[in-house]
Subunit: 314 residues, 3 copies
C-alpha cells in the first residue's frame, strides 16, 4: 500500500516522497518496506536503530528516530497501527495452492484440509479437524477430532493435539478510541509447535501479532490452558490444566506451571522454576525455585504466611 | 397445556375453572396465558403486580398475590417449575422452514445450517460450524470452524466468533428434590450478540432461562470465558481469558474483567469498573473504580493489604 | 509381549523363565498375566499381596514382594512403565466391527460413528460429534454438536453432553527422564458416565490410566470444567463452571464444587461437602461441611479470617 494512502486512511498530513509499504512490524524488527509504531517511552530505546521505512510516532518522541526512517506524527500510534492492521491482514481463505500430503499420512472423513498444506509421513488427521492454509505438520503426529489449526501454523514431528483445541486464532489485542470503542488488531504472526509436544483438549494458543508464538520441543500442555499471543515456552515445560499465560510470557526450559496458575504477560520465568497451583505471576522470576500464591512469593514463604494468617486470625 | 393437566403432573389439587397455559415466565414478566412461580420473600415484591395467568407459590406468600392470578399452592414452587420446564421446552430440532441466506454469504463445506436461519451479506460460515434453527446472523460476520450456535441466537453485524466456541447452550440451572437428585431447568430464552462483538475460542455463553443473555455492541471476549445464563454485558466491555460470569451478572459499559476473574452472579458492576486479574466479585460494584482480590476490595487497598501481610507474616 | 522382550526394551537384565505379559496394571489390581510397577514406599503396602505376574521395582523394596511375582529390578519403575505403556496402548483406530444402533436413535449428518459402537433407543447424535470405537450410549441421550467421545467410553441413559466437550482423552501423565524430557503414559482405562448425568459445553474428562474415570448417576457438570484421570464423582454432585479436579480426586455423593474451585488430586471429599467458589482443596475433607479459601478452611473461618485481614491491614 502506498504511504500516501496510509496517511489518507489515518488522516495524517503527509507531504514527503511517496513509497510502498509492504507490511507492519514491531519497532525492534521492522526493516525494508515495513511500517512500525512507537507510543511509549519503554520502546523508545529501539528508535535510534529502527530500520523501518516509516514509523507512526507521538510528537514528543520523534526526535529520537533514526534519520532514514520517515516520521508519521500522530496522537495515538497504537490506534493507528490497529486501524492499519486490517488492511495488511493476510487472507483467511487463500488462493488454491497445491498440497503436499504424504501417501503415508491418513486424512479421515470430515477433516478439512486447506491450501498449501503439507502433512508428513504417518500423521493422522481425525474427523472434524480443520487444517488451515499454509499449515505444515511433521511426521507421526495425531491431530484429534475437531481440532482447529489456523493458517501458517507449523507443527513438528511426533506431536499430539487432543480434541477440540484451537491453535493460532487471533490474540486478544485491541486499541482503544476516545469514544470507548475498541479497534481489533489483526494478527499476522503464527504459531510454531516444535517436535514431541503434546497439547490437551480444549486448549487455546493464540498466534503472534507479528513473528511467532512458540512452543518448544518436548513441552506438554494439559486441557483448557490458554497461551496468549507471542508467548514462548521453553523445552520440556509442563503446563497443568486451566493455566493461563498472558501475551508475551517467556518461559525457560522445564518450567512447571501448576493447575489454574497464571501470568500477567510481558515477563520471563527462568529455567526449572516451579509455580504451584493457583500461583499468579506478575513479574520476572528467577529459575530453579518454587513459587506460590497471588501475589506470588517463594513456596516456603507462602506456607509460612498462610500458617500465620490462620494462627493469628482464625 | 391445560392448567388441569399441569396440576395433575405436579400432583397439586385444583378445582378452579380450567384454562390454557402457553408458556412459563418469570414473576416479573409473565403475562397473558403464562404460568409463573414464586418461592422466596425476595421476589414477593412482584406478587401484587403479577400479570401471570397462574402462579406456583408457597402457602405463606399466597395472600400477596394479585386477585386476577390463579394460585397453585405447593411446597417447592422452584421444583414444580423445573419439572414443567421440560414440557414447555422448545424443540431442539424443529420443523423445516425456509432459510434466508444472502447470495453474498459464504457457507463452507461441512457447516450445518438449521431451519429458519437467516445469514446476511458477506458473512462467512466455516467448516464444522453448527448453526441451529431460527438463528439470525448479520452482515460481515465470521463464524469460525466448529463454532456451535444454538437455536434462536441472534448475532448482529461485524461479529467474529472464534473456533470451537458455544453460544446458547442451556445454563447450569437445576431444582433440587428432597432425595438429593437434581431436576433440569430447560432454558427457553436465547442469546443476543449485538454488532461489532468479538468472541474468542472455546468460549461458552449460556442461553437465558427466559428472555435473553445479552452481549452489547462492541464488547470483546477472550478465549475460554464462561458467560452464565441471563447475563447482560454492556457496550465495549473487555473480558479477559478464563473469566467466569455467573448467571444474571449485569455489567455496565466499558467494564474490564481481568484474566481468571469471576463473579458470583445476580449482581451489577457499574460503567468503567475495572476488575484486576483473579478478582472475585461477590456484590454490586460502583463504576469508575479499580478492584482486586478475593474477597474483592479496591485495587489500592489490595496492594496495601498484601504488602502488610508479607511484611508482618513472612 | 514376551517378558524377555520387555526387559530388552527397558535394558533390564533377565535370566528367569520367559512368559507372556498381556497388559499393564496398577500394583493393587494387577493379576494373571499382567505387569505392574512400584516406585514408592506409599504403595509398598500392596506388595505382599500383589498378584501381578511380574513387577518393576527399585532394589530397596524388592524384598517385600510376594514370592509368586517375578521381580524386575530398575532404578525408575515409573519411567519403565511409561516407556512400556506405548507398546501396550490400545489402537486409536480399530478393526471394523459391527455397530448396534437402535432404529429409534437418530444420527445427524456430519457425525462420525466408530466401530463396535452401540447407541440405544431415542438417543440423538448431533452434527460433528465424534463417537469413537467400542463406545456405548444408553437410551434417551443427547450428544450435542462437535462433542468428542473417545474409544471405550460408556454413557448411561438420559445423559446430555453439551457442545464441544471431550470425554475420554488421555490424562496428563508423564514420567520424567534425567535429561529433563517427559515420557507419555498412554492411558488404557476409560470413562464411564452413569444415568441422568448432564455435562456442560467445552468440558474435558480424561480417561483413566487403568480402570475407570467414573461420573455417577445424577451428577451435573457445568461448562469448561476439567476432570482428571481416575477421578470418581459420587451421585448427584454439582460441579460449577471452570472447576478443575486433579487426577484421582474422589468425591462422595451430593458434593458441590463452586465455580473456579479446584483439587490437588489423590484426595477424598465426603458426602454433602460444599466447596465455595475458588476453594482450593489440598487434602481429604469430611463431608457435610462448607469450605472456602486457598489454603482451604471451613467457610465460617474463611469469613472470619478475611474480615480480620481487612480490619487489621487496610
Amino acid at each position: 500500500m502506498k504511504l500516501s494512502k496510509i496517511c489518507e486512511i489515518l488522516d495524517i498530513k503527509f507531504d514527503g516522497k511517496d513509497c510502498e509499504i509492504n507490511s507492519l512490524n514491531s519497532i525492534e524488527f521492522a526493516k525494508g518496506d515495513e511500517l512500525s509504531y512507537c507510543d511509549s517511552e519503554k520502546n523508545a530505546k529501539f528508535l535510534e536503530a529502527c530500520k523501518a521505512k516509516a514509523i507512526l510516532i507521538t510528537p514528543n518522541l520523534k526526535n529520537l528516530v533514526s534519520k532514514e526512517c520517515i516520521i508519521l506524527e500522530c496522537k495515538n500510534p497504537h490506534l493507528c497501527f490497529a486501524i492499519l492492521s486490517k488492511f495488511f491482514a493476510k487472507d483467511l481463505l487463500r488462493d488454491k495452492k497445491s498440497n503436499k500430503i504424504s501417501e503415508f499420512a491418513k486424512i479421515m472423513p470430515g477433516a478439512y484440509i486447506g491450501s498449501g498444506v503439507s502433512i508428513d509421513n504417518s500423521s493422522l488427521i481425525m474427523p472434524g479437524a480443520y487444517i488451515g492454509d499454509d499449515v505444515s505438520i511433521g511426521q507421526n503426529c495425531i491431530i484429534h477430532p475437531n481440532v482447529v489449526i489456523y493458517n501458517d501454523t507449523k507443527i513438528g514431528d511426533n506431536c499430539i493435539i487432543n480434541a477440540n483445541s484451537v491453535i493460532g486464532s487471533d490474540g486478544f489485542g485491541f486499541a482503544h478510541k476516545e469514544d470507548g470503542t475498541h479497534i481489533k488488531i489483526y494478527h499476522n504472526g503464527n504459531v510454531v509447535v516444535e517436535d514431541d509436544v503434546e497439547i490437551g483438549a480444549c486448549v487455546t494458543i493464540d498466534r503472534a501479532v507479528f513473528a511467532t508464538t512458540l512452543i518448544k520441543k518436548g513441552t506438554k500442555i494439559d486441557n483448557l490452558v490458554q497461551i496468549g499471543h507471542n508467548c514462548e515456552l521453553g523445552e520440556n515445560c509442563l503446563i497443568v490444566s486451566q493455566t493461563g499465560l498472558s501475551g508475551s510470557t517467556i518461559l525457560g526450559k522445564n518450567v512447571i506451571m501448576g493447575g489454574q496458575s497464571g501470568t500477567a504477560g510481558h515477563l520471563k520465568i527462568g529455567d526449572f522454576a516451579m509455580i504451584a497451583a493457583r500461583g499468579g505471576v506478575s513479574k520476572n522470576l528467577e529459575g530453579g525455585k518454587k513459587y506460590a500464591g497471588h501475589p506470588l512469593c517463594e513456596l516456603k514463604d507462602w506456607f509460612k504466611i498462610q500458617a500465620k494468617i490462620h494462627k493469628n486470625f482464625k
